[in-house]
Chain length 402, copies 2
Amino acid sequence: MTTTQKFTYDSLFSERSEDTPVRKVAHAKYDFAVAYPAPETLPMYGLIDALKAKVDSDGERVAKEMAYYPHVFGSPELREFTSEKLKADRDIDVDADGIVLTAGSGEAIALLIQALTNPGDVVLTERYVYGGTLTQLQKFEADVVGAPIDELGLIPDALEETIKRLTAEGRKPKWLYTISENQNPTGSTLPESRRREILDICHRHGLPIMEDECYIDLRFDGEAQPAFRALDDSGIVMHVASYSKLIAPGLRMGYFVASPELTSRAMSFKHGSGPNQFAAYAITGFLKEGLQRHRDTFNPLLKEKSDAMQRGFADHFADSGATLSKPEGGCYAWLTMPEGKDISSIRDEVFEGGVGYLAGPNFAPNDDGQNCARLCFAFETAEKNYDGMALLAQLFRKHGVM
Amino acid sequence: MTTTQKFTYDSLFSERSEDTPVRKVAHAKYDFAVAYPAPETLPMYGLIDALKAKVDSDGERVAKEMAYYPHVFGSPELREFTSEKLKADRDIDVDADGIVLTAGSGEAIALLIQALTNPGDVVLTERYVYGGTLTQLQKFEADVVGAPIDELGLIPDALEETIKRLTAEGRKPKWLYTISENQNPTGSTLPESRRREILDICHRHGLPIMEDECYIDLRFDGEAQPAFRALDDSGIVMHVASYSKLIAPGLRMGYFVASPELTSRAMSFKHGSGPNQFAAYAITGFLKEGLQRHRDTFNPLLKEKSDAMQRGFADHFADSGATLSKPEGGCYAWLTMPEGKDISSIRDEVFEGGVGYLAGPNFAPNDDGQNCARLCFAFETAEKNYDGMALLAQLFRKHGVM
């Protein structure tokens, strides 16, 4: 080993690069800050058995395919399955060649953002929006504006007013991002009538819609509404979804459907080949056999967990003036304290006290939401969800916000 | 479904986006164009057994980890294993926190390129360089210059002359990329003495070195030379490698080691979380048990395949004036026809005739190499390697280049 002075990179870093320290992830005793599905129903043996069955029946082909670099769109078999699933579940007509598998929906969203967004372009989202998308939009220097929402999600009239106001200001929005089913973070599901209105508005103003259906399989109450993509085949709708929440985030498998010319543009931001073929075999085999059985296993459990959190809220936040959204699925409920009660600045103290949550500003393009928090009900047990809400009320009282 | 006119994206695409049609991959009868390891030794059952053993022994933890989003650096256990492997195999001292797992080495290279390269920056490579890296460098608008090589790889004196010449032209190189072991495409291994000289040169001129050791485990003759990173701990060396060639590209698992401040910059180009946790369990478990056994299985087979291609060349290209490099490992031999014999423009016809190869210009930052081709000896059987060389000679004669 040559002993040398430390080499200095300072003047060599690219202009676009930034220091990006690793975020330390700590877990509170009652961890409502996470974005995880229920580990109890994570089907590791189901995945392994599916993988083994595939190798048993088709070993030579598997070995060849694993030795190849994956197709840049990902496993053809999983795309075929996804095409069938989209038709059966969402009435979306797209063949396997129209689907691009990605390393989680995060990669899908990043590719599409880059295809559509120049620095400074205005992008509309719900007033509170999935933090991962918000971070990516900001990284690509979008000017993100949150449009008004109520307990059902985006409000069509208010959305159009926002578009008109911004256009009049010389900031015409470029496109719209929405999680229309079991929204992250609020848990809302947008009714069909609003979707139709929003489609009309977006056509009138020339705004593509990116609908993110990451939580579509996680539904324990009510009914899924028709996908934007099923209501409109003009190409104005990009459809993004994922197997992360249906099976496991650790599999890193999401996908998108977009018009061919947009897909072609999006792929210019893709590095390397398609996602993990190994995981693709496991997912395809597992879901072909047992998609409905798996949903029937985890959705009742999710309901039990959600109900427990709702009971904990009802029992311990009575007369507090707070509201907790009542999702019909997904992983999250949205806590809103009375206006002026800042639960964002006491997050660390409450975490130390034993309850983790993500404060509103993490989801707020308009920098509001200090009185709000996202609570994940999917990860902890039902019992812990109830007890955690009791402790949360206690801690809020201790810190003077309740 | 509302029947609507096709939505037009034309004016909405970002300035940076480009049409990126999917490349159709076709396979010739004798497929030397690929970049694949030997499918015969791809250990699917070994991977599955390792995964199952992990779930059997540690199921609850696995379920929790799979339900989490992977650490942005990837699986801690696989990083721990990689740290031990780097010490044992390459005498590189780095702990698990200094290793970033990526979706293949392609992602590692893309992150580092972006951290170090502004549009127009000059990046040095070997005269013939891995096409994947070349494409990425060009995508990020680097000005790529190939430095002179011989059968041992980079030539230190010529490298320094190149640096001086470019600097005098106002094009001072920013950093150097090299595959120093079993190079892609030429198969060369750079001797230790040259590595030491190149380190001195790079220190003198302030050029970081990215060494790409994707082929380090694939060695059947001669001896691996010390890694640049083992010869110098100043931080000037970035070390990139992969489990794609050791186990399977379909697993999409590579990694890099860089100085902490460079790693922090590189991570600003990372989208989403770390790579596939599912594949990470399988890789870690499989290699912990059987790394050496696996190498002892596939390297003799690789040698047999390489030898067969060499015999085919010796028997059928005698007196042609052509040379074929004699790699001690890796996947590729480099065919050089006499100067002026253009085998690049007849590639499609030769493919139709039954032999696939990648022509020199795919690897040539300086736009030369029309008389050269990369032949992958790892994928086809030994018998097909021999027969394919016989057919290649026949086709070359038919097309008047031999």
